[in-house]
């Protein structure tokens, strides 16, 4: 049985939601000099409150419910739900947001619209908190859309750049495509269960899952927000926003929302839906991985590595490994935020995002180099780093899943996921080499001027790097089974594959070695372009969806004017023509007839008048003639 939340918890939840949204409004009007400090204060309070919430979490989820819309016969509430998963996400979101805000203080110190920037960040955080706290699908959807709004504002933050507007719009629209599925999924849920409350929907033993379509529609929301295949192309474009935003967006907010959604609705997913989710996740992992391989933009490599890692998490969800996926979400949040903030430090130093114009920066940026190396090692899945633990947890469960499927083809999933970790190591080491090794290749900023940022930026990066080692998650650096995480979020007991760790370490080492030794191929090679253009997915969208829809819109607009309106005008013109015809008829035929009649009558009148001439003789003549005629007729 779910519990009603205690007064402390209710107050905490209210505070958690009020702080960022009130902060958003206040910060919009705040002077840029104190905006950052105020935002950091708000987030720190939020973090403290989150810790309080985490300490008060009970075994059972706790609920806060209030009525929102009452319609005759049904009522829709606003409800919030707090459980261990919520508490974990609350702390994660606040913590990463806090570091990103500290970093932003220095990174964006020249920005004139700084108040607005921190306001949008608060909105972003608040919307994400809403998703995490949501107790029913409607609330979740509402905050889900608000995350879309906040991302729109942040990606389009540099408003004078046309590309920023383009990217912001693209992100919002691609998310909307997924959201349509999400919304239909909500309608389906209400149709089948007559409730949208998560607590009732996901109650154990709530019976058969009525529909595969329901799960797949809800999953579409995740496909959009977590940049799964085929809706992944908005994520690389989202780089138009300020770099610290990318760190937040790729780690704890936005893309994490999709994974969180899957964790929440997992009991609603039918076995068939889970297979589809696994396949989509696997495709995304490979697609994102290959797309990262030949990118030249430092942030784009990281963006596609996010796509790839999100695919891994989704595939884990598909194999039923909810806790493994959430574990990877957690570890990934730290090292990916660390990587983005390090990349920001590099960009800050050399004023370019093009890795072809970097190189040999390990001496100029020693702190960044160390932090970057640690985070990259975690992402690649080297032992003694957090990424290794969470990847093992996912891969082990995936092999377990395919052995339970009784279907040889299903082994393709874990094998491909395993191979993708080699690809990850390949492109991360390639990036590491391009940025920090070799010769410095930048003509604009001399190497002597490339220097480390101040401690406000280095601090958060180092903290994130420290959090990317194994120690914080499990004492055993080679297995996550003893981790505190799996005590809080128990995983299904799978078997251990003794060969898995050595094989994956071997693949990582091979991938890394290749990445370090490779020579950059020519950028026009077809396999390079396939990677850089991420499988020509955007080109395909352009020709298959965007252009046809725009053509259809223009066509319909022509139809509107040429067909419907012309018919209307035609009806008008023909009525007027008819009126003229009628008036002609009136004038010539009817009037003619009337006039003719009048003429005839007047002629007749003249004739008769001429007869009535007043002469008695002619009257008598007429009378006699008439009499004779009558007599002739009678006889």
């Amino acid at each position: 049985m779910p519990l009603d939340a205690s007064p402390l918890l209710s107050a905490s939840v209210a505070a958690l939601l009020t702080l960022p949204f009130a902060g958003f409004l206040v910060l919009l009007l705040t002077h840029r000099r104190i905006a950052g400090a105020l935002a950091i204060l708000l987030t720190s309070i939020g973090l403290a409150v989150s810790i309080v919430v985490a300490m008060n979490v009970a075994e059972q989820p706790m609920l806060i419910q209030t009525n929102w819309a009452t319609l005759s016969g049904s009522s829709f509430g606003i409800s919030f739900q707090v459980d261990a998963l919520t508490a974990l996400m609350l702390i994660l979101v606040h913590f990463v947001a806090l570091l990103v805000q500290l970093y932003s203080l220095s990174y964006l110190h020249d920005e004139p619209k700084l108040g607005r920037y921190f306001a949008y960040l608060q909105l972003f955080v608040g919307a994400m908190l809403g998703i995490v706290l949501a107790g029913n699908l409607l609330v979740l959807y509402a905050f889900w859309e608000l995350v879309g709004l906040a991302s729109y504002l942040l990606i389009g933050f540099y408003t004078d750049r046309p590309a920023a507007g383009q990217a912001a719009k693209k992100a919002f629209l691609m998310n909307r495509v997924g959201d349509i599925g999400f919304l239909i999924g909500i309608f389906l849920t209400y149709y089948y269960f007559n409730t949208l409350e998560l607590i009732s929907l996901t109650a154990p033993n709530s019976g058969e899952i009525p529909s595969t379509a329901l799960g797949l529609c809800l999953f579409m929301g995740c496909v959009g927000k977590s940049a799964q295949f085929p809706l992944l192309t908005w994520l690389p474009d989202a780089m138009e926003g300020p770099t610290p935003v990318s760190a937040l967006l790729h780690a704890a907010t936005m893309v994490a929302a999709g994974i969180f959604l899957l964790a929440r609705i997992h009991p609603l997913l039918s076995p068939d839906a889970l297979v589809v989710i696994t396949v989509v996740g696997t495709i995304t992992t490979l697609w994102g991985g290959y797309s990262a391989v030949f990118q030249t933009d430092i942030k784009k490599v990281l963006a596609f590595s996010t796509v790839s890692q999100l695919g891994l998490m989704v595939a884990a969800m598909g194999t039923g490994n909810v806790s493994g996926a959430m574990f990877h979400l957690l570890t990934h949040a730290f090292f990916k935020a660390g990587l983005f903030l390090s990349a920001g430090a590099v960009i800050h130093a050399v004023h370019t995002q093009d890795m072809r114009h970097m190189g040999g920066l390990r001496k100029a940026l020693p702190t960044t180099f160390i932090a970057y190396t640690v985070c990259a090692a975690a992402l690649s899945g080297l032992p003694f780093f957090s990424g290794f633990l969470s990847k093992e947890a996912i891969l082990g469960e995936a092999f377990h899943w395919s052995s339970a499927q009784n279907d040889g083809l299903s082994y393709l999933v874990p094998v491909l996921l395993l191979l993708s970790s080699g690809v990850t190591a390949f492109y991360m080491v390639r990036q590491w080499r391009l940025v920090f090794f070799g010769d410095y290749r930048n003509d604009v900023v001399p190497l002597s001027q490339a220097h480390e940022p101040d401690w406000l930026m280095r601090g958060p990066v180092l903290i994130l790097a420290v959090l990317s080692v194994w120690f914080w998650f499990a004492l055993n650096p080679l297995s996550a089974h003893s981790s505190w995480f799996f005590k809080l979020f128990p995983a299904t007991e799978g078997q251990n594959f003794w060969w898995l760790a050595p094989v994956s370490i071997g693949l990582v080492l091979i991938g890394g070695w290749l990445g370090f030794r490779m020579r950059e191929p020519h950028s026009q090679r077809s396999y390079v372009r396939l990677s850089v253009e991420y499988g020509f997915l955007d080109t395909m969208y352009h020709y298959v969806f965007i252009n046809p829809i725009r053509k259809l819109a223009t066509l319909l607009n022509h139809a509107d004017q040429r067909v419907i309106d012309r018919a209307v005008n035609g009806a008008g013109i023909s009525t007027v023509t008819l009126a003229y015809l009628a008036s002609g008829l009136d004038r010539f035929v009817i009037d003619g007839f009337v006039n003719g009649l009048a003429w005839c009558i007047s002629r007749l009148g003249r004739i008769t008048r001429s007869v009535q001439n007043g002469l008695v003789q002619s009257y008598i003549t007429a009378a006699v003639v008439g009499l004779l005629l009558i007599l002739w007729w009678l006889l």
Partner: protein, 560 residues
């Protein structure tokens, strides 16, 4: 008293303005402002005195107007009968608010022939109120027709370059609709008796107040058994009686049981379609919508605001009050076709909006798309759908008013409405940008604003409906993607990038031409934005009004 005041105060004001000397130009707008302000207060009083828990009509006022014995044709009766229920009250309040905003918007933009303008404006206000509160079909029709006259002149005299074409088109379209409604109105009149007055006329009771529900059923039974003397049957336009199937004369033209066939369709179904088209033109529903883009583009800003904010809602109101209520059998029979028409409007309007180069036209087509949700919700015949449809009308009234005011702000500065004439408006006009972003995001269905609630519940209703297939909702849902596409594309083109406007006469300094919002403009836009937000956060503000009425209204469609 309140409802009569709502109608006659502006009519009186209109007369007052006409009678004043032309040189009092500055007084006309003040009179209009005061009167529309009082209208808002009156609607607030109506709101306060309305009992939300009751389903029937409230604040009734009636007076006999025309009573004419016609021998064997029975007795003709037309009455002055006004009242409100949960369906009309939200629209009355909306109208009062939008008319007030319209006056503020006219304040400085209307400079020529102000006496005629404000006189027509007040005439329009009175007739619109009349439409929403009249409960006698004849009275309703009178107001409905009378609304056309000021609208025709407001577009035709104060409009843009193609105003004459637009106003004639608007007039003829609406006249065609009126004609169809008139035909059905006469048919209904001939087919329906007023059981209360008939009871009095036959001498069963002495006064109308003594008539009980039981007696009404007895009289209806007499009628069906042919026991009433035809010369004593009182024919009526009273909507309450028109909506009751028991009042239809046996063998009458529109009696559900008799059903003579005309043109291959039962006469009742034909009448259903006729009166449906009559109101569909007003809403408007594709394919009878093409008057709307022209009328909007040519009309001056305040008239566009009224047109989108209030006039379109009479179409949706007519569906609920007249088409569906008098012809429930038709609505049930053709629910699927009606749902398809609503979905067609949503998608077709959305795609058309995507193709527009003119800001006002884009907003006009977005109105077509958003009004499609109203038809879809009504066609669903579910509590969610109907409540959602009424909510959507109110929400669209607020948001479309805001959108047209936003288009007007730019037009007042540059006399150019083309989307591609502007770039980077964010720099010179930050406040304008903020309010535009609010209006755009609210219109594309961002949760927290009213647009989301209306779309959510109409779609949910259509999905729950046993009359509509599930795929229809799925198709209609793409409307919210299209809305995001055309609004955000427009926003990206007009507001992002370096500031630039298409030079028209001579090279212009962008910042000099594009001054940010004036206090008057903010006075209009901010309250509308706040209303959209408040209604979006607290949808029960409207649902509490509509619930009881809708629940009773839906009883007709309950499936045994």
């Amino acid at each position: 008293m309140i409802l009569s005041l709502l109608i006659f105060l502006p009519l009186f004001g209109s007369l007052l303005v006409v009678l004043m000397p032309e040189n009092q130009a500055s007084q006309f707008r003040r009179i209009a402002l005061v009167i529309t302000l009082i209208e808002v207060l009156l609607s607030a009083v109506a709101y306060a005195s309305f009992d939300k828990t009751l389903a029937g009509y409230q604040l009734l006022e009636q007076a006999d107007w025309i009573t004419l014995p016609l021998g064997n044709m029975g007795i003709a009766s037309i009455r002055y009968l006004v009242g409100i229920d949960g369906m009309s009250l939200p629209l009355v309040i909306l109208s009062a608010v939008v008319m007030l905003i319209g006056v503020i918007s006219s304040w400085t933009t209307i400079t020529t022939r102000t006496r005629a303008y404000f006189s027509l404006y007040l005439l329009l206000t009175g007739t619109i109120m009349g439409c929403f509160v009249a409960l006698d079909f004849f009275l309703f029709f009178l107001f409905f027709e009378f609304m056309l006259l000021p609208m025709y002149f407001l577009i035709g005299l104060w409009g843009g370059p193609r105003r004459e074409y637009a106003s004639i088109k608007f007039f003829l379209y609406t006249l065609l609709g009126s004609l169809l409604i008139l035909l059905v109105m006469i048919g209904l009149y001939l087919s329906v008796m007023d059981p209360v007055s008939t009871a009095v006329a036959t001498g069963v009771v002495a006064s109308p107040s003594a008539v009980s529900d039981e007696l009404i059923r007895t009289i209806q039974a007499y009628l069906q058994n042919g026991q009433l003397n035809p010369s004593q049957i009182v024919h009526t336009f009273d909507m309450r009686h028109l909506a009751d199937g028991g009042n239809y004369l046996p063998n009458a033209f529109l009696n559900p049981a008799a059903e003579p066939i005309v043109l291959g369709l039962p006469a009742r179904m034909l009448a259903f379609w006729a009166v449906f088209i009559g109101f569909a033109i007003k809403l408007p529903i594709v394919p009878v919508h093409t008057w709307l883009p022209d009328a909007h583009v040519e009309a001056p800003t305040p008239v566009s605001v009224i047109l989108a904010g209030v006039l379109l809602k009479i179409g949706g109101y007519g569906f609920l009050r007249i088409v569906w209520d008098f012809f429930p059998d038709g609505a049930a029979e053709y629910a699927q076709a009606l749902g398809v028409l609503g979905t067609l409007s949503i998608v077709y309007g959305g795609l058309n909006a995507l193709a527009q180069m003119d800001l006002k036209k884009m907003i006009a087509y977005s109105s077509v798309s958003h009004m499609g949700f109203v038809l879809l919700g009504v066609a669903s015949l579910t509590a969610e759908g109907i409540n959602g449809a009424i909510y959507q009308m109110v929400s669209h009234g607020i948001l479309s008013a805001m959108l047209f005011l936003i288009a007007g702000v730019l037009y007042d500065r540059t006399y150019d409405r083309r989307i591609d004439s502007y770039r980077g408006l964010m720099q010179p006009m930050p406040q304008y940008t903020t309010l535009t972003a609010i209006a755009f995001f609210a219109s594309l269905g961002l949760p927290g604003f009213s647009g989301f609630v209306g779309e959510l519940f109409t779609l949910m209703g259509s999905f729950q409906s046993q009359w509509l297939p599930g795929w229809l909702t799925a198709v209609a849902t793409t409307g919210i993607l299209l809305a995001a596409a055309y609004f955000l594309w427009t926003f990206q083109r007009m507001f992002f990038g370096p500031a630039w406007i298409r030079p028209f006469d001579s090279p212009q300094d962008v910042t000099a031409v594009l001054a940010d919002l004036t206090a008057r403009e903010k006075l209009m836009l901010i309250p509308l934005g706040v209303m959209a937000l408040v209604l979006g956060l607290f949808p029960n503000l409207i649902f509490n009004l509509t619930n009881a009425t809708v629940a009773q209204w839906l009883m007709k469609f309950a499936v045994e």
